[in-house]
């Protein structure tokens, strides 16, 4: 009798404690990106770059993809672009693809930016659908996708040349 009571009480208390714990945890982390999970496959998308070529993420299976979300009005994005360009030159023949997705700006602005910075990797403009799928909030944000198409790392914020290199090294097939 006494034992039964203890067990019932323990179970009820534990269940409630777990529920409260989960709620607190979720409340703390509610602002974090929760759409993309490291280790899971990266959601597919199709975008057309500034030269008119179509890029579909799933077609890059077998290569590592360095997926960068940016905008011209974002200072850190602008600062990290040359590093990405430099490392792209190093790694493009080793099976690493860079895809840079601009956050819905005009063709003119993006084209001028590409010219000014001398970018050679594909840059595409997304009107919101891809950003919404990836749960993009602050820019820049970079996703590293391995040759199987799984997300291996999510980095929010500015990159240094060293980290860009290390990241590309990481996803090199």
């Amino acid at each position: 009798m006494k034992k039964k009571r203890l067990i019932t009480r323990t179970i009820i208390l534990v269940v409630m404690a777990l529920a409260v714990g989960y709620t607190l945890y979720a409340n703390m982390n509610k602002d974090k990106n929760n759409k993309i999970v490291v280790g899971e496959p990266a959601p597919d998308f199709v975008l057309v770059d500034m030269e008119g070529n179509k890029h579909r993420l799933s077609e890059y299976k077998g290569q590592g993809v360095f997926l960068n979300f940016w905008a011209t009005w974002c200072k850190p994005c602008e600062r990290e672009m040359p590093y990405i360009e430099n490392q792209y030159q190093q790694f493009k023949d080793q099976g690493v693809q860079v895809l840079a997705i601009d956050s819905g700006e005009t063709d003119l602005v993006v084209n001028r930016f590409i010219d000014r910075k001398g970018l050679n990797f594909p840059v595409m403009i997304d009107d919101g659908a891809v950003q919404s799928t990836y749960g993009i909030n602050p820019l820049p944000i970079t996703f590293l996708i391995d040759k199987e198409g799984n997300v291996v790392r999510i980095h929010t914020g500015e990159l240094t040349e060293e980290t860009v290199r290390a990241f590309m090294e990481q996803i090199k097939p």
């Binding site: 006494k2 009820i12 409260v20 989960y22 998308f45 009005w73």
Partner: protein, 541 residues
């Protein structure tokens, strides 16, 4: 478990004050009291009886009404603190919160911010308070409802004298109760919807016992409500996004995973007109100035056909046209789109003329679409304007260079290269609103501003909330419980023949006045007196 056996033979759980069956007093110290405490029918509240392990201690802590009420009071005070200054979500987005409070409300505001009161209702300690109250609801209810159920179910018609004597409503009549009078009383009681039980001429009349379950039903409702609130944190149960749409623009509705698209055909903003609208409003309108009448988005809803790959140009099929207004959201498939914000007159096109500064001669018009400017505009006859840079939301950055704050054309600025037959390499001109700079030296030509076109922008909130029905269910159950407990009273009347006397006692969980009135009616002309209020008698003495 130590049990208490009553003289009547019924075995009661430990801690019982009044025998569940006959009502005899089981605890000695209760015997000195004139009236007994009938709160839980004198049944054993489990929590109070065992206090051995840590689990029992935690359990007992939450089971206590004192703790529950303290939690309510603390929660009440905490909630009021959050209304001293606005919460972060209601402050204008001009300044970051860290500066806003100090700037606007002085040191008190700073303190408010430092204590985290600007986000009080989602702070960990506030959530813990609510959670503690929820736990207390569960445990306190469980601890009381079971014993109460047992004693109300087990009660006998013949209650012990010590029980009757200590009821607030009690009386002993030195009179006989003839069969005829007894039948009359019973008939009256039955008419008042009492349920009657008889044993050897003794009577128990009872009604509205279900009202005793009211508190537990409403607690259940609250628990369900809180569970609903908790489920909101489970991914996929809740979507809250915002969608800005310019007039004529079509976009995918965020949160729908690319399934639905919305086109804003037109955003409408109306204010009351003191001459055109109803005359009764005239005074109020002229006093206040502008009163908004309507915010409305005339929208078309589309559904995407085929596979969904984000980014791909979608094939859309129209679902329906609908106007979205405040209080009239558009609903589709569990999603609701609400009119929440707007922007009037966002610049969409800018027109310029290329002009010779000296002769004032003009060489054609160009209209720049601010959402999609072209690289160059050919004006013919060797006149051409190249757009070298475009800054939709222009500012000078820290380095003093022109830059853009965002992609929204709030303050468009351009660097043009004007190519003319006499200047084939072009002249560079920086043009912003009310600004015309010549960064590379004096020019012969200039771009004159020739007007703008604007568009309205609407903002819609996209919501999906699968917790709503649970929360609604909780609310409904709460209401049922609270009404059940508040609008009905559990009343009981005992009539016993003891040693040639008629003993009457009555109990209600509330509204004694009503019970008295009812009993006076029942016992009128019966030859015996209705039970009297012993508490009121005390006060008179």
């Amino acid at each position: 478990m130590k049990e208490v056996k009553c003289e009547c033979g019924h075995v009661n759980p430990q801690g019982t004050i009044l025998c569940e069956s006959c009502g005899r007093l089981l605890e000695d110290n209760e015997k000195e009291k004139q009236l007994i405490d009938m709160r839980y029918e004198g049944s054993a509240r489990r929590s109070q009886t065992y206090n051995k392990t840590i689990i029992d201690k935690i359990w007992n802590f939450f089971s206590s009404v004192k703790v529950g009420v303290s939690l309510i009071i603390i929660l009440l005070i905490a909630s009021s603190l959050g209304t001293i200054f606005p919460q972060e979500m209601y402050i204008p987005p001009l300044l970051p919160a860290s500066e806003y409070y100090g700037e606007k409300y002085g040191w008190l505001g700073k303190l408010y911010y430092d204590l985290g009161f600007h986000n009080l209702y989602s702070s960990w300690w506030y959530l813990i308070l609510i959670a503690a109250l929820g736990i207390s609801l569960v445990i306190a209810s469980l601890d009381r409802v079971v014993p109460l159920y047992r004693s109300l179910k087990n009660q006998r018609v013949k209650r012990h004298e010590s029980f009757l004597k200590r009821q607030r409503m009690f009386h002993v009549s030195d009179a006989e109760l003839p069969e005829e009078a007894s039948a009359k009383i019973k008939a009256k009681l039955a008419k008042k919807r009492y349920k009657l039980r008889e044993e050897d001429g003794d009577l128990l009349a009872e009604k509205n016992r279900f009202s005793r379950w009211g508190p537990y039903v409403n607690h259940l409702g609250l628990i369900i409500f809180l569970i609903g609130g908790m489920l909101r944190f489970v991914p996929g149960m809740y979507v809250d996004e915002i969608l800005w749409l310019r007039d004529g623009e079509t976009k995918s509705i965020p949160g729908t995973e690319g399934r639905y698209y919305l086109k804003n055909n037109q955003f409408i903003f109306e204010v009351y007109d003191k001459d055109k609208d109803e005359k009764v409003f005239k005074d109020a309108i002229s006093k206040v100035g502008t009163v908004v009448k309507n915010y409305q988005t005339n929208a078309t809803l589309y559904e995407r056909q085929g596979d969904i790959i984000p980014g791909e140009t979608p094939k859309l099929e129209k679902v329906r046209d609908q106007s979205i207004q405040v209080n009239k959201p558009l609903k589709i498939d569990g999603y609701a789109l609400y009119q929440v914000d707007y922007k009037l007159g966002e610049m969409s096109k800018m027109a310029f003329k290329l002009e010779n500064k000296q002769t004032k001669e003009q060489f054609g018009d160009l209209v720049v679409d601010l959402y999609d400017p072209k690289m160059s505009y050919d004006l013919g006859k060797g006149y051409k304007v190249e757009v070298m840079s475009y800054f939709p939301d222009f500012e000078f950055n820290e380095d003093g260079e022109p830059a853009t704050k965002s992609r929204v054309p709030n303050n468009p600025a351009f660097i043009f290269n004007m190519i003319t037959p006499d200047k084939p390499d072009g002249e560079v001109s920086f043009v912003a609103i009310r600004q015309n700079l010549e960064p590379l030296g004096e020019n012969d030509y200039k771009m004159t501003f020739a007007g703008i076109e604007t568009k309205n922008v609407t903002a819609l909130t996209v919501r999906k909330d699968y917790t709503l029905w649970i929360i609604g269910l909780g609310g409904l159950i709460f209401m049922i419980g609270v009404v059940q407990g508040a609008y009905w009273n559990h009343r009981r009347l005992w009539i016993r023949r003891i040693n040639g006397q008629i003993w009457t006692a009555a109990h209600t969980n509330k509204n004694w006045y009503g019970l008295k009135r009812e009993l006076d009616e029942v016992f009128a002309d019966s030859g015996i007196d209705a039970p009297k209020d012993q508490e009121a008698e005390d006060k008179k003495e």
